[in-house]
């Protein structure tokens, strides 16, 4: 069967916060529906398994030009990825991602965060970003930036208690995500400050 179809071009990876997507430009053939199939190859497959490729069945004969490969990029090694176009009667050669993809290059964004003063208690609400994520939360009494406290938070299903505060004082908080499997952190979120009871609770 001759590979008459052009292979997909502009194959690239979008990877943010450990969620990885393969994208490519559509192959357009007048009057025909073009479908795509994606395969991956980890470093193990290259070094130990005869350079075999593994199909991603969720992205087999799909019409979309994006594939969520997060489930399969599940180790901190270099992965190869490839896409092929298919109209049923004809099929393209594989188009392969230029260079490897390693999840260590994912971009990590500062975590959305809400700081709360509840009486003399300093609390923080963080958004659950998935099992790979922990949060490093720094907090300090305003003006005492040299005496910062920190807390590693893993479970963020509800309002997390950080510490107690002295009456009427302002306390500031900032947080960053930490991904243990790639040993990297995001930049810090915007600092948010609140005031302990014994004075109006202001967001400064």
């Amino acid at each position: 069967e001759d590979a008459l179809l052009p292979s997909p071009q502009n194959i690239s990876i979008l990877s943010t916060n450990m969620r990885h997507f393969l994208t490519w430009s559509p192959v357009t053939i007048q009057g025909e529906t073009v479908r795509y199939s994606v395969e991956f190859q980890g470093e193990y497959e290259r070094e130990y398994a005869n350079e075999s490729w593994i199909p991603i069945c969720e992205c087999s004969l799909i019409t979309a030009t994006v594939c969520n490969i997060t489930e399969d990029i599940s180790a901190t090694v270099a992965y190869n990825l490839r896409v092929r176009a298919d109209t049923g009667a004809r099929r393209s050669q594989w188009g392969t991602l230029k260079g490897f993809f390693n999840r260590i290059t994912t971009s990590l964004t500062p975590p959305p965060m809400k700081v709360i003063a509840d009486g003399y208690h300093l609390l923080v609400e963080l958004k659950d970003m998935g099992p790979a994520f922990q949060f490093c939360v720094l907090y300090w009494k305003k003006g005492q930036e040299s005496r910062m406290h920190w807390k590693m938070v893993k479970d963020v299903s509800s309002t997390v208690h950080l510490d107690t505060m002295e009456a009427g004082h302002d306390y500031c908080v900032k947080a960053q995500t930490y991904v243990e499997t790639i040993n990297r952190s995001s930049s810090f979120s915007q600092t948010q400050c609140v005031r302990a009871q014994g004075g109006r609770s202001l967001r400064l």
Partner: protein, 139 residues
């Protein structure tokens, strides 16, 4: 990471262990349990076992189920990334192999070679939690 290997294995444990009908033989835990290995021999056993799984196990565990194959690939690639870290430890000679660990590893290879290659590989893969339990317990 080991956590990712553990969750990958948990996803395929029932399927893989169901493919191993032999109850009377274990690759890793009998006749001598991993839990009896001295802590000084730990690094050597882990190093040898990671090589064992890379060289002799994963590649012979191809199944007809693409989901299982993808999970095995995920585990194998996680093994590879940990193995590379262990290599640094091994190359700096901090991973000495005593006589006991050498004997233990020989026993594991003998258990493995006592079966045909596919059965031995599937059995070894099905015993991954034995390795992980031991690694995590004595961490």
């Amino acid at each position: 990471s080991v956590t990712e290997i553990r969750s990958g294995f948990t996803a395929i444990k029932a399927n893989i262990q169901a493919r191993d009908p032999i109850r009377t033989l274990s690759i890793l835990s009998h006749p001598q349990s991993l839990h009896k290995v001295k802590s000084s021999d730990r690094c050597c056993i882990i190093h040898n076992l990671f090589n064992f799984y890379m060289d002799k196990v994963f590649k012979h565990c191809q199944t007809e189920d693409s989901y299982i194959n993808r999970k095995i690939s995920s585990i194998a690639n996680s093994f590879l990334s940990i193995k590379k870290k262990l290599e640094q430890c091994h190359n700096q000679n901090k991973c000495l192999c005593g006589q006991e660990s050498t004997e233990k590893f020989k026993q594991i290879l003998a258990n493995y070679e006592g079966l045909n290659i596919t059965s031995a590989a599937i059995k070894s893969l099905g015993e991954l939690d034995i390795l992980l339990d031991w690694m995590e317990k004595s961490r």
